[in-house]
Symmetry: C2
Subunit: 365 residues, 2 copies
């Protein structure tokens, strides 16, 4: 069964009159059609036997080519999409319950729906869809592996670009240029290249800082391939590292490997986090690992579940998430190592293959 | 008064207990601090005399450097931000009304707030903030002019890159590479470069199509400069255009110029749309101008107001928006010409200066 068929069966079981979905990622997940409508309404309306898409006129032709959608209704900018919506779902005054994605639907649109269908109750599909999306199909995994392969390629390009005096922003430019030439249309997020202690902010922004010999370089990047994201982090040494840099690196590496080796069906997300966190804490750097261990990914680069302290979600085969411990010492260093992976019966199958052992790059003046 | 001071005065006038804002663009607009928290909670909590930011621990240091924020509270991934929120707003059981952005706040978070503050009512700040944001300050306009200047530069790079056999995607890569080298960290949206009849879809995606002599090339692009966006479209001829291409171009150009010349305080958005639409309709192509004339822009590339048929919003000095008529004929051609501008007492002051007369580029084999 396709995800859409599964959802339709669930709707029948739960006696939902219809489902309203306006999250473009969910629409793409269920139908294959992806569009970013900005402030315009793009809504998938599903009854147990019919799937309709309400779409800005601009996108009508494109949307009509997707088989999963039974009918596409385009509206012009001067038309009111809510009036049209009420017509196309054939409201008979007897709608009992309407399914919504309550973690995406905004209050204004929710109030539109409550006033269009005053007698209906609303059922959140957030966790149902989350549970459905979190287990990736083999088709999805093939795309994520290709996205991972391209991320490995991007890392290679980035490492090749390093030379004394180049700026972080220039390295970003080279990476994204080469990816575009390989046919990548979109990066998963703004490519991050940070030199030396600039990497001590886990969410730092690449800037004009110039590379010097003996600095660590942190790359955090990913690409979108056929709608699916990758995400990888490597920290490499440009020139010879100091003993302290090597020591910090080896702690992060051990933590990353330990958590990745612990991945198996049945362990909880919190236990994975704790595998890495405990090692870093015992090495004396617990206060410098300032974020969760990882996050799910798929069509979005951040998805359910959180791999964080205390999270009791059990890991299952087909889940895809990141394992990315780090140590951040202000004014000194930022080191993070990240693979994303799919869970199999045997454990973790990572999407990225770039070595995690410390890479020491020759200085190019 | 800063926008934040204006909002605080409004809160006092409206007797709001506090304001909850989690739209990163609005937070940046009010405080200068910009961050994309993905699924994490990033919330600005404003009382009439105190401005607090609840922020993921990762961003605490960065956020603390903004003077407009009186207090920054970082929370760890394993902490519940809603519990902390309730503490920091010092709920005394007597909150009367809470201001929210109902066009951004999602239902799940709204329900969090309604359950944390069960006696409070909720007031939508959507139109108030919209009206405040829509009139740009001189500081904002300076940034938007620079973003426009860089967009002109990007067009120049794109035109220089054209040669027979190059793909759309390669031209995109060259443009974004050169922009990154100029220090641009982010484009306003995915750069669009479309050849010949591929431009007939107003929301087309650049691909592997190769440029041929005699084709029109449509560029639609923009950059983000200090948080502010630009957006410009030009359609140029690669080699000599046919008489029909010239004819279509001149209709779109006349429509664009006519609407831009009509810009003045007091005219409505709908009247501007109709100035362009009427001209295109009288030329026999009304059915091929399939979208609104334009949209507001600022921190976001699509903002209030809509410049569309029937919109009665009166144009005021300080508003910034696009004027972008187009003609799209499937299998044949897509032509669009767009400037974004700020409204002054005298009329329209455009952010982009690239000529709108038909540019005929020499063929490079």
């Amino acid at each position: 069964m396709t995800p859409l068929d599964t959802l339709k069966k669930y709707m029948t079981d739960e006696a939902l009159s219809f489902v309203y979905i306006d999250n473009p990622d969910t629409i793409a997940y269920l139908t294959g059609f992806h569009s970013t409508p900005h402030e315009r309404v793009l809504a998938l309306l599903i009854t147990s036997d019919f799937t309709q898409l309400l779409v800005p006129k601009l996108e009508e032709t494109e949307a009509s080519s997707y088989d999963a959608i039974d009918k596409v209704t385009g509206y012009k900018d001067e038309e009111n999409p809510w009036t049209i919506l009420k017509e196309i779902v054939k409201y008979d005054g007897l709608f009992s319950s309407i399914g919504i994605e309550s973690d995406y639907l905004v209050v204004d649109r929710y109030h539109q729906l409550t006033s269009l269908f005053p007698d209906a109750s609303f059922t959140s599909l957030t966790s149902y869809l989350q549970d459905m999306k979190v287990i990736k199909t083999s088709e999805e995994i093939i795309k994520m592996k290709e996205a991972g392969r391209l991320a490995d390629e991007a890392l290679r390009v980035g490492m090749d670009a390093l030379s004394t005096g180049i700026s972080e922003q220039e390295v970003v430019a080279v990476i994204e240029f080469e990816m575009k030439k390989l046919g990548v249309k979109e990066m998963s997020f703004d490519t991050m290249v940070l030199f030396g202690d600039h990497a001590a902010s886990p969410h730092g922004t690449p800037g004009e800082r110039l590379l010097q010999s003996g600095e660590f370089v942190l790359f955090d990047l990913g690409v979108v391939y056929n709608g699916y994201t990758s995400d990888v982090t490597r920290t490499v040494s440009y020139g010879d590292p100091s003993p302290e840099q090597k020591e910090l690196y080896s702690i992060v590496l051990s933590a990353q490997k330990k958590a990745q080796a612990a991945v198996k069906p049945g362990i909880t997300a919190g236990e994975l986090d704790s595998a890495a966190r405990q090692l870093i804490t015992e090495s004396g750097y617990g206060d410098y690992f300032t974020h969760r261990l990882g996050h799910g990914l798929g069509r979005s680069v951040h998805e359910y579940p959180n791999i964080a302290p205390g999270v009791t979600v059990p890991i299952q085969t087909g889940m895809c998430f990141s394992i990315e411990p780090g140590i951040y010492i202000e004014g000194k260093a930022g080191i993070r190592i990240e693979d994303c992976l799919v869970v199999t019966e045997e454990g973790a199958d990572p999407f990225t293959q770039t070595t995690k052992e410390l890479i020491i790059l020759p200085v190019k003046d």
